[in-house]
Symmetry: C3
Subunit: 181 residues, 3 copies
């Protein structure tokens, strides 16, 4: 048995070519397998960015540039864009380190909150604007997912105990809490 194992080992080491080819083929499909929900959420966020940018573009083309409505739409767009790389980074880290489904779900809810924030920011010029930050709870949730994933990986590496399934189950359940208003 052991000899057989050693033989296979030698063979694998001697002929890595076909394994590489196999792994490369698999790699790209399994890679997409693990991230496709995240990609879909990213696509939706890009469409939303385009929608925001179009709003700004339309205000830009009006003659009188320094109207309050231009200020508002420009400021709302800027606040959304300031937070965008942070959101993308934390969503992808959470999705890759722990599991993609709750991360993508939280991403979708973040996009809804962002849409509401943008619309609310445009509002009537007499209203006060909402603050600078939005979606704090969702970013916090994604951050917690990342920390859990990294913590679990380090536990698994140094102590050999793998709690990934438990953390995934808990995260799936906890992501439903984001639906609370």
């Amino acid at each position: 048995m052991l000899t057989q194992a050693q033989k296979t080992k030698t063979l694998c080491v001697l002929q890595p070519g076909y394994l590489t080819a196999l792994t490369a083929g698999m790699n790209s499909s399994t890679a997409v397998e693990n991230i496709y929900l995240l990609v879909i959420v990213t696509l939706i966020s890009v469409l939303q960015n385009a929608f925001f940018a179009q709003k700004v573009e339309r205000e830009c083309q009006k003659e009188n540039k320094h109207t309050p409505s231009f200020e508002r739409v420009s400021c709302a767009n800027r606040n959304c864009m300031d937070a965008y790389p942070t959101f993308l980074a934390v969503m992808w880290c959470a999705g890759v380190c722990l599991s993609q489904a709750p991360a993508a779900f939280a991403g979708i809810i973040y996009l809804l909150v962002r849409q509401k924030y943008f619309i609310g920011y445009l509002g009537h010029t007499s209203q006060s604007t909402p603050g600078y930050m939005f979606g704090k709870r969702i970013i916090g949730f994604l951050l917690l997912m990342c920390i859990l994933g990294i913590f679990n990986f380090l536990l698994c590496r140094y102590y050999g105990s793998d709690y990934k399934e438990y953390t995934e189950t808990i995260t799936n359940a906890a992501s439903a809490l984001l639906l609370l208003p």
Copy 2:
């Protein structure tokens, strides 16, 4: 034959150590294999960002800060930076989900368009500025590539039919259309 297969299976399961090592080694090289063009385009975009930032820096150091030229260069830089995360996200998604060569090609063209936009924005103070958005066609093309890639992956997963080669060929051909003015 089957017994042999089962043996190999058992061996692989019993000794995942060397396979992990092999896969890890391959992983990093095949991973780079699949993304190296995207990395090169990202590097060029970073150099371009540094060029933009240096222009702003130089205007900042002048004594009188609220000149029209400072306003222009600062606004041009901000518009470019606002669109940058969106561009990176959509280029990487397109490159990973479908194929990297047309995505990287579209990326290069986007960078050229951005350079032209930035230079055009600085122009003479009497000229009107170009709008807020630029490179819409390229972002749209990359978005379409992502959607095709995801669609193909889902088809492949649920129906077992793989059209990846066709879509890659079509995408390669279609990317040439971006060269049209």
Copy 3:
């Protein structure tokens, strides 16, 4: 020996199912293995972003909005956010293409520099602000790491000579130079 090899090959090709499963399982763990330091640095940077955003939020909620201190904190935050996607992109490329430890180390130092820049920007209103750019040396170092990684990959692919170990050793040593003031 060769017959055995061919058999294994056939088996692997005939039964890729379990290999896929294995690779998929490994994939996610080895993927995290190769990036976990980068993820940790990204998390710290997200926390820092939240700290910056909270400062802006607090200034926003004051009644009189156009005070110099609001201008300062808003401008400092904007400069930091403008450079953020560039930093993330170059750190991740450097970490994936060459090796993660020096990239993460440079990332940590960049975050320290950014913290110092933000605090320095708030300073007394009588002081002059630091320029628009910061952490140029670190971004340059990460850029160099990317270029080395890509160059090494291309050498390895077209000439078969792999200098990855040497470049990693040199990079590890060179990253200590970033500690110089």
